[in-house]
Structure formats: structure tokens, C-alpha cells
């Protein structure tokens, strides 16, 4: 469930040994946007959705009609539990009487944070490891690679359970766990790219000219690594949100009362699937749309950045 996308998407035979052609010449940001819209409309739509997500996340206090933590009470002072969508509560209320719409809006924040943080940390960690491993090779490479292999060989669920049991359950630890899952795969891809780049003569030339390793890495290696990493990152952003939902299902997710789509889907959504299906439908749709958008964006980016895959 967790490992699939890394190995499949990140290592289509072309990219891991390649990505060698120079990145698309970007005439500034607007040039890139126009390119995206014209060439890859599906990607453009996805990008729009994601921008919308970010906007919702930032503007949550303005957009949400109520406090997502407040138990709305009826005239007897009891929480208005599981009310179907009406005018007052457009998406209904949850079992504690909280407004689902507000929770979905605020949930965008947490989902985005979980996705961004875990992917940033994971890919950064993976990139650093892959760079070090690939560039210097030798013993260091061996040690790192065996470590990576070991981490990848241990099932994600066991890792997650171990981390949560020992360090406790919190948003930070979830991010840590997901980052730990992303990093090994990312490091493999980066290492592969670095190794391939090193074969190129311009690297030898640079070394002969006396360029320092740091300069070579930054100037020559990183730009080629950038493209595959970006593709991995966009796809993993979607995956991270799904993983968070799966962790909630296993009882290891973001602890309440923080609203997250994953917890809403796997918790009260699943428990009340028949009596109150809207509790599951709305977070489910939200997750699906966002993951879909990230995946399509990843596709579009890969198509754009790898010239061999461009249309005729």
C-alpha cells in the first residue's frame, strides 16, 4: 500500500538513469503556466484544484461558518448529533454535534500540512542520502544503501506501530512516519540519477578543471535530480493523505479533536456508514479529489520534464 508509487513512478526506466536532457527552458513563471495549460490541460486543472486547496487551507478561518471544535447544542442542551445536511449545517453534523463543513475546511489545513511536511522532510532526507551515497560511493554508499534496504524491507505498518507506541501518537509523529516511508525510495532514485550523471563526460571535465565536489553537485547533479524528485513529491503528496487515513483506520492516526479528512473518513465515517453516510462521503470526496489532482499533476509534470515523453 505504501511502497507502490515510489518504485513504479519514480523509476520508469527512462528517468532513473536519465532525466539527462536539460530541463524545459522556462521563460519565467508565466511561461511555465501557459505551457502547462496549453499542453497538459488535465495537469492545469489539477494545479488549479491544488491551488484551491491551498487557498482553502489558508483562508479556513474566513471560509468556515463555525468553529470546528464547537459542539452545537439544541434547546435541551444536548449536542445536535448526526444531523443530515440542512440549511443551518450544509454538510451535516458529526456524532459530537460539530459542523462537518467547518471540519472539512479546517481539515484541508491538516491534510495539507501532513502532506507537505512529510513529503518535504522525506524527499529532503532521501535526496541528501542519495546524493551522498551516489556521489562519493565506496564504503559510505554501502552503509547507507544497506540501511535504506533494511528500512524498505520492514513493513510500513510495523514501523508505524513501533514509532507510535514508543514516541506517542501526534501529528508530528505521523509526519515522521510518512517521511520515513518516503525517504528510502527517494534516496534510491536520487542515487540512480547521480550515478548516471556521473557517467557523463561533462562531470569529468568539471572535475579535471578542479571544481569542488560541492560545486559539481549543485551545478550539474542537482538540476537533473530535480525533475524526478518533483514528480515523486507531487505523487507522494496525495499518498501521504491516504496513508494518514489508513493510519486513522488502524487507530494510529491524528489524535482528536484535530479535524483531518482521514480521521473523519476512517472514524465516524466508517462507523456510521449506514445511518449517516454523509459523514463518510464528504471527506471521502475531498480526499479523492485532492489525491486525483496530485496524481494528475505528477503525470503532467513528468510528461513535461522528460522530453522523451512529450507529444509529437
Amino acid at each position: 500500500m505504501i511502497r507502490e508509487s515510489v518504485t513504479a513512478d519514480a523509476a520508469p526506466a527512462g528517468v532513473s538513469h536519465g532525466g539527462l536532457a536539460a530541463p524545459v527552458a522556462l521563460r519565467g513563471l508565466w511561461g511555465a503556466v501557459w505551457l502547462l495549460v496549453r499542453r497538459k490541460p488535465l495537469g492545469a486543472v489539477s494545479a488549479a484544484i491544488i491551488l484551491g486547496l491551498v487557498a482553502v487551507a489558508i483562508l479556513a478561518p474566513v471560509l468556515a461558518p463555525r468553529d470546528p471544535y464547537q459542539f452545537n447544542l439544541n434547546e435541551r442542551g444536548l449536542p445536535i448529533r448526526m444531523q443530515a445536511p440542512t440549511a443551518t449545517f450544509p454538510l451535516g453534523t458529526d456524532p459530537l454535534g460539530r459542523d462537518v463543513l467547518s471540519r472539512i475546511v479546517y481539515g484541508a489545513r491538516v491534510s495539507l500540512i501532513v502532506g507537505l511536511a512529510s513529503v518535504i522532510i522525506g524527499t529532503l532526507l532521501g535526496t541528501v542520502l542519495g546524493l551522498v551515497s551516489g556521489y562519493w560511493e565506496g564504503k559510505l554508499d554501502q552503509v547507507i544503501q544497506r540501511g535504506v534496504d533494511t528500512t524498505m524491507a520492514i513493513p510500513g505498518i510495523v514501523l508505524a506501530l513501533a514509532v507510535m507506541s514508543v514516541l506517542g501518537q501526534s501529528l508530528t509523529n505521523i509526519i515522521l512516519v510518512i517521511a520515513l516511508v518516503i525517504a528510502p525510495g527517494a534516496s534510491r532514485v536520487v542515487r540512480g540519477t547521480v550515478l548516471a550523471v556521473k557517467q557523463q563526460t561533462f562531470v569529468d571535465a568539471a572535475q579535471a578543471l578542479g571544481a569542488s565536489p560541492g560545486r559539481i553537485v549543485v551545478r550539474h547533479v542537482l538540476p537533473n535530480v530535480f525533475a524526478p524528485i518533483l514528480v515523486i513529491a507531487t505523487v507522494w503528496l496525495g499518498n501521504a493523505i491516504v496513508i494518514e487515513a489508513a493510519l486513522s483506520f488502524l487507530g494510529l492516526g491524528t489524535p482528536p479533536p484535530t479535524p483531518t479528512w482521514g480521521a473523519m473518513l476512517s472514524g465516524e465515517g466508517r462507523r456510521n456508514l449506514e445511518t449517516a453516510p454523509y459523514l463518510a462521503i464528504f471527506p471521502g470526496v475531498a480526499i479523492s479529489v485532492v489525491v486525483l489532482a496530485f496524481n494528475m499533476l505528477g503525470d503532467a509534470l513528468r510528461d513535461l520534464l522528460d522530453p522523451r515523453l512529450r507529444s509529437r
Partner: protein, 316 residues
Amino acid sequence: MRTYIARRVLHGLLVLWLVSLVIFSLVRILPGDAVIMQLDQAAAPTPETLTRARQELGLERPFLAQYRTWITGAVQGDLGRSLITRRPVTQELLKRINLTSHLAVMSLIVAMLIALPIGILSAVRQDTTSDYVGRFFAILGLSLPDFWLATVVITFLAIWVQWIPPIGFAPLWEDPARCLSQLFIPALIIGARLAAVSMRMTRSSLLEVLRQDYIRTARAKGTRERAVIVRHALKNAFIPVVTVIGQQFSVLLGGTVIVEFIFLQPGVGSLMLDAVLLRDYTLIQGAVLFFAVVIVVTNLLVDLSYAWLDPRIRYR
């Protein structure tokens, strides 16, 4: 070539050893232990009886002694006995592997039936409507969390059709009808995800192959487009697809825990989940080691196939 293989095998063994060490230590850090999990909710045990129970399970011995006993057995194929059921771990694993392999194969077939046609179509008609529609539906399979899909399916199947897959596994050769009816819905759910991943792979790989010079030559020669694709492109496009499928298969063998959980299919994934929840150390260790072996062997085979295909790699 032989040194290459030898080196890779050695690496694999090293990784397996590291995994054994890590998992052995990891489970002993988790709070709680198998003794408590075996007791009735109403039980009122004293600490002495709990300690004695732990001693009987061998959990009070020093860490290294426990590890040595286990690893020497494991190397010879004896993974110890489950702390909970007292049955040999290897026996438990083999039973579960039976179901998981059935499920993996069926999911694979489902995935291929979906992914290959869509992937080929998408690549051949890149950036047209068919491409978008195909990709959209394939990626849909990736977007819905599989446990959620499983819950929805099992709930609404029961309500609308008054049927759910039968409980109690029977292998294909014993009772094909029951086996198929049991597994086809979980296979559909798991396969949908797998299809999405494979479809993309197929598409991008085929696209890359279609750019190659020899394809241009074939077209220039006047061969019909369909023949170009079938006779020249597909064969070469499939190499990376097959690799990816191989890797996905190892992931599948790892078990798709949550789907098994919901459909009550006793596969390796749910074995591991149960074992972790019950703190059944030997079972967890055995299951994780099994996964590790599968992954290491698959990676080895993949690397070897790359080396065979691309001579440059061998001589690094």
C-alpha cells in the same frame, strides 16, 4: 558477472541479518506483552504469575540469549513457536502464504486486464480524449483508500445483494468455486490500485519506446501502425513493466492488510497485524523476516535482470 551476483547476494544476506536484528529489538521496545493479551478482561492476575508466565515463554532471559536462540533456529528454517498459539511459526506462515498468493495472483490478473489495454491506448493516443479518460479512471483506483472501498463494498453488498464473500479459505485446487467467490471482490479492490500504477508504467514506457529510432524506421518502411506497435514496440516496452510488476507482486505478497482484515481473509498481512497487536514476538519476527526475504529476493532478481539487460551496470 559472477562477482556481481555474488556481491549482490552477500548484500542481500547482510540486509536480512540487519532486518532480523532491528525487528527483534523493535518488538521488545513496544509496551505491553503477549501475556497480558491472553487474559480474559475479568482476570485479576498478580505480578508474580505474570512474571512466571513470561518466564515460561522465555521472555525473561537476557536479550542476546533470546536473539541467539531465535536466529540460529531461523537460519535452519525453524522460526520458533508463536507465543500465543504455541504452534510453529513456519506452519502458520505457510498456511497464510497460500491465501495471500492466491489473492496476489488474482489481483495481478485483474490489474493486468485493466491496466494493459488502457495503458497501450493512452500511449498510442497520447493527449487525446481517450488518453485523459483512460488515465482518469485508472488513477481513480489510486485515489480512493482501499480500506474505505472495502468497507463500502462489504456493507452495501450485504444490504443490496444479501451476499458477502464466504468465510473460511479453500484453495483453488480444493474448491475452485468457493475460492473464486471468496477472493474476486478483494482482488478487484486490490487490483484496481495495482492497475493504476501499472497503467502509468505501461504508458510511459511505451511512449519512450515509440520515440526510438527503430520504430521510426519501421514506420518509414511502411509497416502498418498496429503491426509497428504489436511487433516492435510492445515487446521492448514490457521489460520495465515486467520489472515493476515484479516489484508490485512482492508488495502484494506482503499482504494487503486492511482489505484482508475487513473481508476476514487470513493472509500474511493480517497475520502480521494481529501479531503486532497481540505482541506475539516470534510471529512478528517470522512474518517480517518472510517479507524481507521476499523483498530482498525480488530486488536481487530485478537488479540481475537490469544487469543482464544493461551491460554497463555489471562492470561498475
